[in-house]
Subunit: 143 residues, 3 copies
């Protein structure tokens, strides 16, 4: 009987582990998430991206969804000190949206942190960030 | 022996459940699916979106794939009464493509259902629709 | 005892199978992968796509990531014999990036293989290729 109990416990443990393992849990688990790509040097697109983020936050409720805007290439201008939508960036971040700048792009464009809006967050590579987020189950949107 | 049978049956039941559970089944199961984003106010893009949908329907066969076109922002013009491609919209819907308009955008642009093509289908938010579809395993395409 | 061993072995076999099955393995397993869509007839976008691919290859290391660029619609020009970035295409392919042309587009534009750069790879439908890649766990990027 001892042997039977051992088998039963082992099976139970393996199955519990399987259901906890994130590989098994899949995208269906947890909060809905969205990564928004901003790669155009076009203020109309920047406003559209912020509007899209705002609509998602409103639709779900700020604590029930995660939204990240990734700026890279010509889109980096959205987060530069002279950005025409600097005030909207601030408002969006206060509402809970994460907005990040690509350091790869900054290096190519010879931009330093001093050229960027205060409190800007950075990622080493915008494209790799977008890949990672999709792998983590984020939906992708390119406004 | 009774105990051994009980363990065997329990294990079998748990494993069957795991394989039926949609969280485990993942995207690999079922029909291929595609959500196409139309957010530009550009008739060339609208035609491209309809062409892409048509090619996918032809490649798979209409009953073996699900294609949904989500129009929002300036893309909503594709489904307005005065849309320059109204006849193609009709043809695409008849072929089995689902095409929906974003009510969020309509409110912002002060559009009512009377401004839209007859038999237009609506979703509360185009962006949220695109997120949901990706979560359901739809591939994403922005023509 | 014979019976107990049989149960134990059966359970072990079923569980091993489950963990090997690609449906269970999900996107979290294996290499990171990226499919890049090129559908604009715009050389600036073509360069951006190649830059994005290069950055990803550099960030991961060429043998640790898979990157495929799918050209279709007006984007097919990127792979035509007269492409203004023909030399960069070659360099990108040598670095390990896969770049393919949509035969559907070629038929519509009355292009033959002779109109395309030497050693071009083809897929029957660019859009279906992009769908398939996403289903296989590729992240999507539209530069």
């Amino acid at each position: 009987m001892n042997m039977i109990k051992k088998i039963a416990i082992t099976v139970a443990l393996i199955l519990s582990f399987a259901s906890l393992n994130p590989v098994y849990a899949g995208e269906a688990a947890g909060k809905d998430k969205l990564v928004i790509q901003v790669s155009d040097g076009d203020a109309a697109k920047w406003n559209l991206a912020l509007n899209n983020a705002k609509n998602v936050m409103n639709a779900y409720g700020a604590d029930k969804v995660e939204v990240e805007i990734v700026t890279y290439g010509p889109g980096i201008g959205m987060l530069k000190m002279d950005s025409v939508i600097a005030n909207r960036i601030d408002e969006s971040k206060k509402s809970g949206v994460s907005i990040v700048a690509c350091q790869n792009t900054m290096k190519n464009m010879k931009l330093t942190n001093d050229d960027m809006l205060p409190n800007t967050s950075y990622v080493p590579s915008g494209v790799v960030e977008i890949m990672k987020k999709q792998k983590e189950g984020y939906a992708y949107l390119r406004p």
